[in-house]
């Protein structure tokens, strides 16, 4: 008699293998999703090209691309870590996927790790494409090697902040509400977060509040380094890390897996 394939032989795979397998799954489904690609790649590229070439906005500078490119990089991070992740995770929660994955050896920790890996992979793709397009438009990033380190730190902190906010939204609101709210927040932060319109264009009274938004901290920080070659902007980093800590604590407290 042949031995059944179902004779129990339980055992978890190594954590690294599980996380990579799950991250690969997340990445493949993201790349197959047209709406996600629109949000993460096509819109940022169009905005970068459009705003750099067309003198619609008065940016107070002749070198428009130097102002726009850091803002679009910040937008790209937000679109992936916050908007895309909130919507994707919201629907996974709605369809019981989070619950199901929580019963596998991957566990919740592994799932969050996998999501982070896939977000970083998408961001690398976005940054490569946007960086290349911006250079093609005549962008001259400043800052040198120290600036590169500052850019990485800002993007990591921004990713942490936006991911935690996205997961907080996905884990507390209904999926449809998350879909609507995540897009709304994206649009709103795009307008008031220093991505295209310098914060100096807003009334004096609003500015301190706007500067505390994570998108303003990220776009402002990237712009300080890449446009003006400034030293690592500690205030911007501080704002992003504060958002990351607060949103992570709130997500840990309020996230519902179903």
């Amino acid at each position: 008699m042949s031995v059944s394939a179902f004779v129990p032989a339980p055992g978890a795979a190594p954590m690294g293998r599980m996380v990579l397998a799950q991250a690969g799954m997340e990445l493949r489904t993201l790349l197959r999703n047209g709406e996600q690609l629109l949000l993460t790649l096509i819109i940022p590229v169009l905005l970068l090209v459009g705003a750099s070439l067309a003198p619609v906005l008065d940016l107070g500078t002749e070198r428009r691309v130097d102002f726009i490119a850091p803002g679009v990089l910040a937008l790209a991070v937000m679109s992936t870590a916050f908007t895309g992740q909130a919507i994707g995770t919201g629907f996974e929660r709605r369809y019981g996927v989070l619950k199901r994955l929580g019963t596998t050896p991957l566990s919740r920790f592994g799932l969050i790790a996998a999501k982070t890996v896939s977000v970083i992979a998408i961001e690398l793709l976005q940054l490569a494409v946007l960086w290349a397009v911006a250079l093609g438009l005549g962008w001259r990033p400043q800052g040198g090697p120290a600036g590169a380190v500052a850019v990485v730190l800002l993007i990591v902190a921004g990713t942490a902040a936006f991911s935690a906010l996205g997961l907080l939204m996905a884990g507390t609101l209904r999926a449809e509400a998350t879909l609507a709210a995540a897009n709304l927040v994206y649009l709103l932060l795009l307008l008031v977060g220093g991505v295209f319109f310098p914060l100096s264009a807003f009334p004096e009274a609003l500015r301190p509040a706007l500067e505390l938004l994570p998108i303003s901290a990220l776009s402002g920080g990237l712009r300080a380094v890449l446009e003006h070659g400034a030293a690592p902007p500690l205030a911007a980093l501080g704002v992003l890390l504060a958002w990351a800590v607060l949103a992570t604590a709130a997500a840990a407290r309020f996230f519902r897996w179903e």
Partner: protein, 310 residues
């Protein structure tokens, strides 16, 4: 002796004003198929989800493979397979892709190709979950539950809405799991499924266990011998010929029922011979003579009532 697959004692779970589990206790033996049987809303899924470690009970204790499903989840998860009642798969994930992912989470998985073939999913491996039929989604979910070669499998209504072919394929897989030495805890409201598969049946209603045992334990408490003949037979005389504990009734006129407790041997060959001999000696022709055991469905409806559930 190995520890039971599941031991639940006095489980209580409330959702606001609704009490889903109300002091629920049962044991699922290792290497057996145990069916939680109950009407909609009886507390089957809640019980299963507590055992899976997904919910925490308000009171009572539960041990799964000797472990606490929440505190020892990390050790338990690789040893357990779960098929939820629906969903659980990303809508954009392709069937084959999802199974391969589930296989990657385990140290010694079943070959996904084998499960795809066994469960007739070969034609849809590249189809996203959202475009599978309901039955295909169920089968994919079943395959994902067993792919890690678990010791214990939780199946929440595994054949709800399946066509007969898919239902039989599912049953055969469950029987193979048991033969291979795995334990299965399944919830169902199909009597036929419980009768065919379950070594132990636990009937749940209103969050409580109302009966527990093998199918024959539950159904075999009383056998019936029925026949038709002319009305007005002297049943008292017949009863003197029968073992103690038998009951004889004429209801309606000309329709006779003799009930025998299983504990007294039930309706066996001897009792049948005694009755027909008595009929012969009285010049009575017994028509439509038949021996009936009560089905699980009879027991179920007796215990849980005939009222409709939400």
């Amino acid at each position: 002796m190995t520890s039971p697959a599941v031991t639940a004692r006095g489980l209580v779970k409330r959702y606001g004003a609704v009490t889903a589990a109300d002091g629920l206790s049962f044991t699922a033996a290792a290497g057996q198929v145990t069916a939680l049987l109950g009407p909609n809303g009886a507390g089957k899924t809640t019980t299963t989800e507590i055992c899976e470690g997904f919910r925490r009970q308000d009171a009572g204790t539960v041990e799964v493979l000797g472990l606490d499903p929440i505190r020892q989840a990390r050790a338990l998860r690789p040893r357990v397979g779960v098929m939820p009642q629906g969903g659980g798969v990303p809508t954009a994930a392709r069937a084959g892709e999802w199974l391969r992912l589930m296989a990657r989470f385990h140290a010694h998985p079943v070959d996904p190709a084998l499960l795809i073939e066994r469960l007739g999913l070969g034609a849809v491996v590249r189809v996203p979950y959202k475009r599978l039929s309901g039955g295909q989604q169920q089968r994919l979910s079943l395959a994902a539950a067993v792919i890690g070669r678990p010791e214990l499998v939780f199946l929440d209504e595994p054949t709800a809405g399946l066509d007969p072919q898919a239902r039989h394929a599912t049953w055969e897989l469950i029987e193979e799991l048991r033969e291979a030495g795995a334990s299965v805890l399944l919830t169902t409201h199909y009597m036929e499924e419980a009768e065919r598969l379950a070594d132990q049946v636990v009937i749940i209603d209103h969050g409580r266990v109302v009966a527990q045992g093998t199918t024959s334990d539950l159904t075999g408490a009383r056998d019936e011998l029925r026949f038709r003949a002319r009305g007005g037979l002297d049943l008292d005389e017949l009863l003197t010929a029968l073992p103690v504990g038998c009951v004889a009734k004429e209801q309606p006129t000309g329709h006779y029922v003799i009930e025998a407790a299983a504990a007294e041997g039930g309706v066996g060959p001897e009792l049948l011979a005694t009755v027909t001999a008595w009929c012969a000696s009285n010049g009575v022709l017994a028509e439509d003579l038949r021996v009936e055991r009560r089905t699980l469905e009879d027991i179920f409806l007796e215990l849980t009532g005939r009222g409709l559930r939400g």
